[in-house]
């Protein structure tokens, strides 16, 4: 934030701004120099902010009608669906909003992986992002428990039971988490409390995430450092605002399709059966966005090691800036990394698929191979690639051609502009 010499025009504005520099902040946000070659993959930050606010607003409204009690939760959800004015709309936006949130966050994360946005000097932005992602998973999991359907109850049972894998104190921790000797009313009420709390923690972290972003500025598809402001940048308003707005509207069309025409397709039918501790569903599966990690968990035969593998799969991302040894950020100039990147995408999709399948036979074998590859990618391929890979020449700026007119810039720009 180097633009602190801003002075409001009006006297009142100056008086206020001297005491609380909100107008300086607003000016910084509108003038914020943004690389002009950002493609549509960069619009998901704004989309995610929209998702968070949507979840908070619909969630607050639902909380006014929802009753966090094991005997009444399911009924209160039906009350919302039937008798609350537009309750069905608010609940379907909230339930599908969670899926949309994760869809957007996965695209956001994979964009960062492709263009090397996590690398120096943006490590803190990346780590804050991983913490946000972890909190999102916690919030989504607890939110799924609240309707108190069969999958809520048994999902909660399975996931909380993971803590029993911890040696010596595991059982004690599980009892402490449950607030009793099984998932029951105390579990529901504390999950509701935490589900209400976490989004506001996320909101705070999002502010830090954006703050940390505004120190070095955005990465860009070419992945080079640029002078700001310069011919390579445009002010955030109106250029990026309208572009983010356009992308957000496209996203909202997909969102609206799910809410209005397929509101239950992403959920599990069993969650419309009220929780019954005496009846276990045939298959206990988490929501789709947790399936890759569920596959990793089940691919390890030992319970404790399975939990360790699942947690490592997420936490390994936090040290990614130091695992990736390549000096070049963007995959556009890393021909080998680009291929491994798409293999990783396929690997995660395969993990998601087998996570939804019963853990037996061929599915289990595939899950194990895919899990091994996942760790191989981060622990072996990425560190080695930085030393071995022959990267392509990188341009010196976004607008100016490379010294001697490298053909790769043309290729790179061409590739990026194809997106629309």
């Amino acid at each position: 934030m180097s633009d602190h010499d801003y002075r409001p025009k009006s006297k009142v504005g100056q008086w206020f701004n001297d005491r609380l520099p909100l107008l300086t902040l607003a000016n910084h946000l509108t003038d914020y120099p943004t690389p002009k070659n950002l493609n549509y993959w960069w619009t998901f930050g704004g989309i995610l902010t929209f998702c968070l606010i949507t979840q908070i607003v619909t969630g607050l409204t639902l909380a006014m009608h929802y009753i966090a009690h094991a005997d009444m939760a399911f009924e209160s959800v039906e009350h919302i669906m039937r008798d609350v004015n537009y309750g069905w709309l608010i609940r379907y936006i909230h339930a599908n909003g969670a899926s949309m949130f994760f869809l957007a966050v996965y695209i956001h994360i994979f964009r960062s992986l492709f263009y090397g946005s996590y690398k120096s000097p943006r490590e803190i932005i990346w780590i804050l992002g991983i913490i946000i992602y972890l909190l999102m998973m916690a919030a989504a999991f607890m939110g799924y428990v609240l309707p108190w359907g069969q999958m809520s109850f048994w999902g909660a049972t399975v996931i909380t039971n993971l803590f029993s894998a911890i040696p010596l104190v595991g059982e004690g921790i599980v009892t402490w988490l449950w607030g009793g000797y099984s998932v029951d009313n105390p579990t529901l009420t504390r999950f509701f409390t935490l589900h209400y709390l976490i989004p506001f923690l996320i909101l705070g972290l999002v502010v830090l995430h954006i703050w940390a972003l505004h120190v070095p500025g955005n990465n860009n598809p070419v992945g080079i450092d640029i002078k700001k402001p310069s011919k390579d940048t445009v002010p955030f308003h109106p250029y990026i605002v309208i572009k983010d707005g356009f992308a957000l509207l496209m996203f909202m069309i997909v969102f609206a399709f799910f809410v209005f025409y397929a509101p239950n397709i992403l959920g599990h039918a069993d969650n419309y059966i009220e929780a019954n501790p005496m009846v276990t569903p045939a298959h206990i599966v988490p929501e789709w966005y947790l399936l890759p990690f569920y596959a990793i968990l089940r691919s390890v035969p030992d319970k404790l090691l399975g939990v360790v593998a699942m947690l490592s799969a997420i936490l390994i991302l936090a040290v990614l800036p130091w695992l990736d040894t390549s000096k070049i950020r963007s995959a556009v100039f890393r021909p080998l990394y680009k291929q491994f990147y798409w293999i990783l995408v396929a690997d995660v999709l395969i993990l998601g698929y087998v996570g939804a399948m019963p853990a037996e036979g061929l599915y289990l074998l595939i899950a194990r191979v895919a899990t091994a590859y996942y760790f191989l990618h981060f622990l072996v391929i990425l560190p080695v690639l930085g030393f071995k890979e022959k990267t392509l020449p990188v341009p010196l700026s976004i607008t100016e051609p490379v010294l001697g007119g490298s053909p790769n810039l043309a290729a790179a720009r061409n590739k990026e502009s194809k997106i629309e």
């Binding site: 002009k36 993959w41 572009k243 509207l249 209005f260 992403l266 419309y272 789709w288 995408v345 999709l349």
Partner: protein
């Protein structure tokens, strides 16, 4: 464009893998033309009214529908009985109310605001009367089964003689669409079981369709409102998106960069 294509294929793979996993044990369900599917899907009012008749004359003797009230029968987007008809339906049920000023519980005729009267006092009573099996509440039954309406519609017509290699206990029936093929409910429908007021032939197929339509409505009472609003919302979003697209083009034309 290539990247957008990639994005959409990823979305489709995710959705397909998710829905596919519940289809693993699926047999081919019987199909029929549901009026409530599609962009403008609406309920067939007459079918809903017939479906209510099947529910109340056949299903309701064992299956509760505890989240519905009699007033719902007269509400927009449902069977749309007239208010007088709904009142008459409600009044035909005995409701336990109280305690009165003497501290006694008493029965009175049902009112529009009453929930559907339950066939049994509690789960234990229901199990005792049904050989240990609990007839599930039907309010959201369609949404609580993987195959949805097609599953329910098929199940009602899926009773047949058990193959010779399957042995059935007393009070267990063979149904080719049921998970595991064994069901504790005897075939509930037979041709001409109810007499439709509008003269429709009460075949098993017709009754299955009507009662399944009714169950779809009971699970999603605001389905019609949802479809109508959804169409408006999406048309609105598309128009706005187009306008914003051209505004964006105009704004970005000030600098020599593509957007």
């Amino acid at each position: 464009m290539k990247n957008l294509f990639k994005l959409f294929s990823i979305i489709i793979v995710i959705i397909a893998s998710n829905s596919y996993c519940f289809a693993a044990e699926k047999v081919e369900y019987l199909k029929t033309d549901w009026s409530f599917k599609g962009l403008f899907g609406k309920f067939d009012r007459a079918s809903l009214q017939r479906g209510y008749q099947v529910y109340t004359e056949v299903c309701a003797s064992c299956h509760s529908m505890k989240y519905l009230s009699y007033r719902n029968l007269a509400e927009q987007g449902g069977p749309e009985f007239s208010e007088a008809q709904a009142k008459a339906i409600a009044a035909s049920f005995e409701v336990i109310d109280g305690p009165n000023s003497d501290g006694e519980m008493f029965t009175r005729p049902g009112k529009l605001s009453d929930k559907f009267v339950m066939p049994y006092d509690n789960v234990k009573a229901a199990q005792a009367a049904n050989g240990g099996a609990y007839p599930p509440d039907m309010s959201v039954l369609v949404k609580a089964r993987g195959g949805g309406v097609d599953y329910i519609y098929s199940l009602l017509q899926g009773y047949e003689e058990a193959p010779s290699n399957v042995s059935l206990d007393d009070g267990v029936y063979y149904n080719k669409y049921m998970y595991g093929n064994k069901i504790r409910m005897a075939a509930p429908l037979s041709d001409g079981l109810v007499e439709y007021g509008d003269g429709t032939n009460a075949s098993v197929e017709q009754m299955s369709k009507d009662v399944t339509t009714f169950l779809m409505w009971s699970a999603e009472p605001h389905l019609e409102a949802r479809h109508q609003m959804g169409f408006k919302a999406i048309v609105y979003l598309i128009i706005l998106t187009v306008l914003v697209y051209f505004s964006m083009k105009k704004i970005w034309s000030r600098i020599e960069s593509e957007v």
